[in-house]
Symmetry: C2
Subunit: 357 residues, 2 copies
Amino acid sequence: MKKNILIIPGDGIGQEVTAWGKEVLVKIAEQFGHEFVFEDAIMGHTAIEATGNPLPDETLEKAKASDAILFGAIGHAKYDNDPSAKVRPEQGLLKIRKELGLYANLRPILLFDELLDASSLKPEILRGTDILFFRELTGDVYFGEKLRNQDNTFASDLMNYHRYEVERITRKAYEAAQTRGKRLCSVDKANVLETSRLWREVVQEIAAEYPDVETEHMFIDNAAMQLVKNPKKFDVVLTANLFGDILTDEASQIAGSMGMLASASIGDGTGFFEPIHGSAHDIAGQDKANPLASILSAALMLDIAFGLQDEAKAVTDAVDKTLKAGWRTSDIADKTTPADHILGTAAMGAKVLAFLK
Amino acid sequence: MKKNILIIPGDGIGQEVTAWGKEVLVKIAEQFGHEFVFEDAIMGHTAIEATGNPLPDETLEKAKASDAILFGAIGHAKYDNDPSAKVRPEQGLLKIRKELGLYANLRPILLFDELLDASSLKPEILRGTDILFFRELTGDVYFGEKLRNQDNTFASDLMNYHRYEVERITRKAYEAAQTRGKRLCSVDKANVLETSRLWREVVQEIAAEYPDVETEHMFIDNAAMQLVKNPKKFDVVLTANLFGDILTDEASQIAGSMGMLASASIGDGTGFFEPIHGSAHDIAGQDKANPLASILSAALMLDIAFGLQDEAKAVTDAVDKTLKAGWRTSDIADKTTPADHILGTAAMGAKVLAFLK
Ligand SMILES: CC(C)[C@H](C(=O)O)[C@@H](O)C(=O)O
Ligand SMILES: CC(C)[C@H](C(=O)O)[C@@H](O)C(=O)O
């Protein structure tokens, strides 16, 4: 199989970890006889520094021309503490999501048995948890009109949803639920928000097309609570952009660390694969970041973008073996991890590569 | 001291639990020689059934005339599953918050040692946690304009903040931080939202007036994660209406159960005290609900509305003794709780009353 893959490392630890996601793809191509052609592009703070634009046209063109994109992370503390900054790294990510029509962000909460103890949740609460989030990615308060009055005494963001936006992701989520536990929980705030009421109406309508899937509606406040209290109760979770952002980061603690979670953003064209962690500038360039989320993002790409299930399984198996052999990065180490088993980014990436054969 | 207290039990388990919050106030008045005059009023689903209006004028008048309000819970599944309902119980709660100018919702995450094991989080993660949330209550996407187009293909909610709304709650939060751990974490989504950028600007400005308090800014997704990962890192958490709704429910799991958490909504007039749990119609009327959050809401009233610290402490001590004696409602029981120590609402309320002396 021949595929064009665009690598966008982005900002902070994105640079270090994405290198390992790519290495894994290179190795898989070798082993399974595929031809993966790689290109690189810039985005975020890195692109602002180089061109003044968080998403240069060239990056967007390359993105559209590729078969799949492996992305790292975005953001820089410099902008976070300057609320008046007009150009921000995140605009690059939001724009590429919009331009590529990446409307569904899939975030599987994959639990490796070896990491049960790395979580702050009790092992008996975690064991058996297997959640697949469908986070909507092109609507909500992310893209609605933003206003600030002249004298800085008022600001607003428009939260909005179109029916078709809810419909398309809802169908994807139901289709996934049919291949899994056949339960779908739609999370909203329909007791307060009009967008949520539209959301709930649409989900209720579409639910009727999937009678084999059990549907539940839950308010976001309750969902944020239930996710900690009893994560096993969830199978597929479907939710809007903002609520999905919050819930999936919270859910990362189920998997022990943000450093473990991959995501796939899909739409009608090129798919976009990225860790859910951010740019973590506090540890960037120090060979400390966990490369597994990027490696697992590569696995998601093989599976979802290319339909290469065996290849994807080879990658997750290699990650599993690495963990079973006791190797950890510091974010997933616990009190029982021997010091000489706590590895840096490069050493951890190399372990996975070594198990990939 | 003479005080007029309005009791609004509201919906579902609100009826059962608020009865015990009131009993505790009656007993405190007796013991400490105060005169508490009680009135009752209706709100929510209960009020819709009786009058068609979730917040009847009479209730609002009584509320304004009282010195403090003890509220139960609001909501009914009937409306939740009917996204097109025009009149909803929650409107009553939102309207009374707005009408009374209750702009700051204080939610202390009080950890009783005895309940460490009732949480899904590991005891070593929890021990020592003491968080005070300041949730803004009169702005945000809760009150902005809501739209739905004619053919039901589009819906929107306006998220908005005025500078003065951010200022007044920020000052309250800093004042509280000064009397506690001297750390304040402001939670927003300034990398995406204009309202959050205004929020952050205002907090940065006001922070300068409180140099003895250490300020941190955190994105909501990260905060939802950190709260599970390392709750001890937080002291005072300041946040907007929607984010506060989500984070405080999530944080309820730190205290072992929603059934334990009280809240105080304050503004320039009458204060409003309520459990953070909802109406829980699935267990309503079955003598199963935990009355402790309502009892602890009464304690918050004594402390915050009336400045009666000794009286408030008498109540929290009685709750503590009840728990130390091994009494539990089912939501806070764990595997080690003997069956005969799991009590219903009334029996649990009676235990606390008995310890109150
Ligand atoms: C960087 C930011 C804009 C982004 C988001 O909120 O979508 C990130 O948190 C994510 O979840 O991908
Ligand atoms: C009932 C609902 C409107 C309310 C809210 O979201 O504010 C509740 O969840 C709360 O936290 O008090």
